[in-house]
């Protein structure tokens, strides 16, 4: 019969056919795994069946039924029918072969469950009775063989309770010998191992016990909290031993944990924890179901007083430690972490009498894997979608999508670039420092003499993958992992020996010694080196370096044919490669051994794959290519940066051209006069006197931003007129306007020194733009109110004067005019008449 959780579950629920039922019972006899699984299933059934109940008040029931329209408002509640099915009937039943009922399909019948009168007796723990009775009926005691102490010691400490035989026999009993031996091996975890066995007279025992000479074992799992010592426990509860028969020591054997979580009631004594042999208990649960000394149905309504165990009775009488609904109804969070029974003992777990008595203590066999259960189709929610999990937020989705895209966009070779050696061995060398770096490393290698030279490796460490990496770099192998083996530098090389083993080959002049071989004598003996292949994959290449006359080892496979040697790469001025090739030579030798052929690299990288176009000029040598090759990601990044830089430069160039065209002054008119522009060669400087910004007066009807910008150079004015003697320190206080029949007058009131007049330059920038530049004058006032009818449309103070050191007013005209200007003293004012 195949082990099936589905069958076990159905068997537990009594839903199996009679034939299958018998088959399973027969299977359970020999299958420990199924017995353990059945025990687990029973525990789960008990846990679920011991869930709390809800009671609805009668008036609420009445209100509910009335609201539903089943009864009227004034109608009394209907009486429940007497045929109501009680909730939580005992779901599980004990298998017949365990003694729950008469075995129908087994050839023998075990003892039945403990009788109530036995439970009533004080000081009796029911599981012990069940054990004794069942042991009495078990014909083969080998089924309850004690666990291996050595193996059990890995799981937890073993306590051995050696009980003296009741008779006065002076002969050391075999059980005592076992117990002493186990006690010597078991660690002292603080648990008392000298608990005095209870007197046989105090232990009621009615069933005859078999003569089992075993010490008392108690297995304490490491996770279980340590129970109090036996000194604090009452003697009547510390040990529950059956009355021993003459010539037989009492025994108590429980593989279950001795203490459980706070949810466990104190159903048994400390030592009497599920005193059922191999009665399993997880020992970690905080709210395991109630000790099923009584069926769950009885637990639901509280066990009768006559059936209450001695430990339950004080618990119930001491202020309601457990509610009437059973100990399971006590919330574990309301209890202390290590709740103790009223007697000060840790709460114990009592397995139900029908628990699998020989279940293993640990649960590696569970959960059972059942193909039938695992292959169960997902129930279809026909009436609504199942509750959906919380959807990720927009940010999380974007982040994940970007991560996936980035991951997928990377090639596999890009990951090789994630680890970059920036310094030390293996770091890329700068061209300028190549010679110095090589020289430094060479000196280091010389100081490591007689350490491994390039091309050689220490026997026993040749499989180190770092050797391969290091050798690829052409820098020689790394220092040996055990430096103390090489500290004595001056070591003479022993005479040559032939190869010692199939995996060790020796060349002439070398020998092989395994540094970890105990038969080699002193492990600090000189280590002889043998040229090893640079990698585990290039053994053939290494063997290819052997002289043709050297016969291979007998156990070695035939040497592969040496591949044709590729022509040397094209000479290329590479000081680093040259230096490294020089470095590859043995320090003291003059002979140069070429680097061994690397079949993997040749096959994968060099020979088969044609070099890309951008690498066409580079030599195809593997070592050379490894040193000078840039990864595609590096090249891609470089080209990307170059493209970005070029684009930025182009954009800046275009912007500069455009801005230069817009800000450059207009080309000089062909009708420009010969009047020189003031300070034409000088550019505006930042040291100009501060000027007020363009006044947004009423006359600034259309402030022309273009005109307000300073031209790049001095504008070329036409019809220029220069006035003043160049005095400075004046201010333009006010603008006044006068409309005359023939002209339009503009008067600039100047304030300043009593004598002199500032230099003013007046000219046309174009036909409708007149510039008035006053040197050494600051604008202090506004331009005033412009009359309505006049040829002037706007007067603007230019924020940046095109004339250095001058305050320039721009006068926009409606039509071309001619002007006359002059100073009028006392007070000084500039008069500008526009005619036309």
């Amino acid at each position: 019969m195949k082990c099936s959780l589905l069958v076990l579950s159905s068997y537990l629920d009594g839903e199996l056919e009679a034939r299958r039922d018998g088959e399973l019972e027969a299977h359970l006899v020999g299958c420990q795994r199924c017995r353990a699984g059945l025990g687990y299933l029973r525990e789960e059934v008990e846990r679920v069946s011991a869930l709390g109940r809800v009671h609805v008040a009668d008036h609420s029931v009445h209100a509910l039924l009335a609201q539903l329209g089943l009864i009227d408002e004034d109608e009394p509640l209907p009486e429940p029918s007497p045929t109501a099915v009680a909730l939580a009937e005992p779901p599980g039943r004990a298998p017949s072969w365990m003694g729950a009922d008469d075995a129908t399909s087994m050839p023998w019948a075990l003892a039945g469950p403990p009788s109530p009168q036995l439970v009533d007796e004080p000081g009796l723990v029911e599981p012990v009775e069940a054990v004794e009775e069942e042991l009495a009926g078990v014909p083969d005691s080998a089924a309850f063989a004690p666990p291996d102490v050595t193996h059990a010691g890995e799981l937890g400490s073993i306590e051995v309770h050696t009980a003296a035989p009741p008779d006065d026999s002076n002969e050391p009993h075999l059980a005592d010998m076992y117990a002493e031996a186990a006690l010597a091996d078991a660690p002292d975890d603080g648990l008392d191992d000298a608990e005095p066995p209870a007197p046989a007279a105090q232990q009621p025992h009615t069933a005859p016990a078999p003569d089992l000479d075993r010490p008392a074992f108690r297995w304490v799992p490491p996770l279980a909290p340590a129970p109090p010592t036996a000194a604090s426990a009452p003697p009547d509860a510390t040990e529950h031993e059956p009355p021993s028969s003459p010539g037989r020591p009492p025994f108590t054997w429980s593989s279950a944990p001795t203490a459980t979580g706070p949810g466990q009631p104190a159903a048994a004594g400390e030592e009497g924890v599920p005193a059922v042999p191999f009665a399993f208990d997880s020992g970690r649960s905080e709210d395991l179901p109630a000790p099923s000394l009584t069926p769950p149905a009885q637990q639901e309504h509280g066990p009768p007083a006559a059936d209450a165990t001695p430990d339950q009775a004080p618990a119930a009488s001491s202020g309601g430690a457990f509610p009437p609904g059973g100990p399971e109804h006590v919330d574990p969070s309301d209890l202390p972490e290590h709740a103790t029974a009223p007697g000060g003992e840790p709460e114990m777990t009592a397995s139900p009498p029908w628990a699998p008595h020989d279940a293993p203590p640990a649960g590696p066999l569970y959960p059972m894997t059942d193909d039938d259960v695992l292959g169960e189709p997902v129930p279809v929610e026909r009436f609504g979608p199942p509750p959906q999990a919380a959807r990720p937020s927009l940010f999380e989705r974007l982040r994940d999508r970007l991560a996936v895209r980035r991951t997928l966009s990377r090639s596999s070779s890009a990951y090789d670039d994630q680890v970059q050696i920036v310094s030390g061995m293996g770091a890329p060398l700068r061209p300028g420092r190549a010679r110095m770096e090589v020289e430094r490393r060479r000196q280091e290698t010389l100081r490591m003499e007689p350490g491994p030279v390039p091309g050689e490796a220490i026997a026993g460490f040749s499989d180190d993958p770092e050797d391969e990496v290091d050798d690829e770099l052409g820098l020689g192998p790394l220092p040996p992992p055990f430096p103390e083996l090489h500290t004595p530098m001056p070591m003479p090389r022993p005479p040559a020996r032939p190869a010692a083993g199939p995996g060790q080959m020796s060349l002439p002049g070398t020998s092989v010694t395994d540094p970890f071989d105990p038969s080699a004598g002193d492990w600090r003996a000189p280590i002889h080196r043998v040229p090893m292949p640079p990698s585990r994959h290039s053994l053939g290449g290494a063997l290819g370096e052997l002289p043709p006359s050297t016969p291979p080892a007998p156990s070695m496979p035939p040497l592969p044919p040496r591949p044709p040697v590729s022509p040397p790469p094209a000479p290329r001025p590479d000081p680093l490669g040259e230096a490294l090739s020089d470095f590859d030579r043995p320090p003291g030798g003059t002979t140069y051994e070429p680097r061994p052929w690397r079949p993997r690299e040749v096959a994968d990288d060099v020979e088969t794959a044609p070099p890309p176009r951008r690498f066409a000029a580079e030599p195809a040598g593997p070592a050379h290519g490894e040193r000078n090759r840039h990864s595609p990601s590096q090249l891609r990044d470089g080209r990307r940066l170059l493209a970005i830089f070029g684009a930025a430069t182009l954009v800046m160039f275009v912007v500069g051209i455009v801005s230069g065209r817009t800000t450059s002054p207009r080309p000089a008119s062909s009708t420009s006069s010969a009047a020189p522009a003031p300070a034409a060669s000088a550019k505006p400087k930042a040291s100009q006197p501060a000027r007020q910004p363009a006044t947004q007066g009423p006359i600034a009807l259309s402030p022309n931003t273009q005109s307000s910008q300073a031209p790049a150079g001095t504008p070329q004015l036409t019809g220029t007129k220069l006035l003043g003697d160049g005095s400075s320190g004046f201010q333009v206080k006010d603008f006044r306007y006068g409309v005359h029949p023939n002209d339009f007058r503009i008067v600039l009131d100047l304030e300043g020194p009593a004598s002199g007049s500032p230099k003013v330059t007046i000219g046309f920038l174009d036909q409708t733009t007149l510039l008035v530049a006053l040197t050494g004058v600051t604008a202090a006032g506004s331009v005033g109110q412009l009359p309505s009818s006049n040829p002037v449309t706007a007067i603007t103070l230019m924020s940046q004067s095109p004339f250095p050191g001058a305050t320039t007013y721009q006068i926009k005209l409606a039509h071309p005019v001619t002007f006359t200007a002059g100073y009028v003293p006392g007070p000084l004012r500039l008069v500008l008449d526009l005619a036309g």
Partner: protein, 187 residues
């Protein structure tokens, strides 16, 4: 005489009740509800994890059962009630129904049904309930229907609207999952 193709080859008598179903009396359903109301609320409480919701779901299920009563209330009435309650819990059918949609902001809905219940320890969360809540709804329902309500596989199949074999698989899977989770979270 039926043609040969339509001739029935069954060896046993197949009786089809073509009579109109007789709706049971409301008082019979009220008595049935009165009998099993505590069990139903207990079952729903552990199924949905909240007592108040469970009361509303049970009321919703009973309301549905009152609208569509089982034909054989004396034999299958209890299972029909569990079926109605399970469906109400699955679809979150409450009684009185909660207003939904934008219209709920403009009208005053009926207050939820309130019942004085004594949840006992059912409202307290412990490891068993936490482990139970991790099991899928159908499995959890099967586990509770078997181990808490005591229904057999046939009745569980009726309550969960599946076959007895599927109920057995649900139950076995639920026990396995529950046991695994319980041992994981129980310290």
């Amino acid at each position: 005489m039926l043609p040969p193709k339509l001739a029935c080859t069954c060896t046993h008598n197949v009786m089809i009740n073509v009579a109109a179903p007789v709706l049971p009396d409301a008082s019979a359903l009220a008595g049935l509800v009165r009998e099993h109301l505590d069990d139903l609320v207990t079952y729903a409480t552990h199924l949905v994890g909240d007592v108040d919701d469970a009361v509303e779901f049970v009321a919703g299920g009973i309301y549905h059962a009152s609208r569509y009563p089982p034909a054989r209330i004396q034999t299958d009435g209890r299972v029909a009630l569990y079926r109605a309650v399970t469906r109400a819990c699955r679809q979150e059918q409450r009684f009185p129904p909660r207003p939904h949609g934008p219209a709920r902001f403009f009208r005053r809905g009926k207050p939820p049904f309130h019942a004085d219940v004594d949840p006992g320890n059912a409202a307290r969360i412990n490891t068993v309930k936490r482990a139970l809540m991790t099991v899928a709804f159908e499995r959890r329902a099967a586990l509770l229907l078997r181990d808490l309500a005591g229904l057999d596989y046939r009745q569980i199949g009726m309550a969960l609207e599946c076959s007895p074999d599927a109920a057995a698989r649900l139950l076995a899977g639920a026990r396995r999952e529950f046991g695994t989770v319980y041992r994981e979270i129980a310290i």
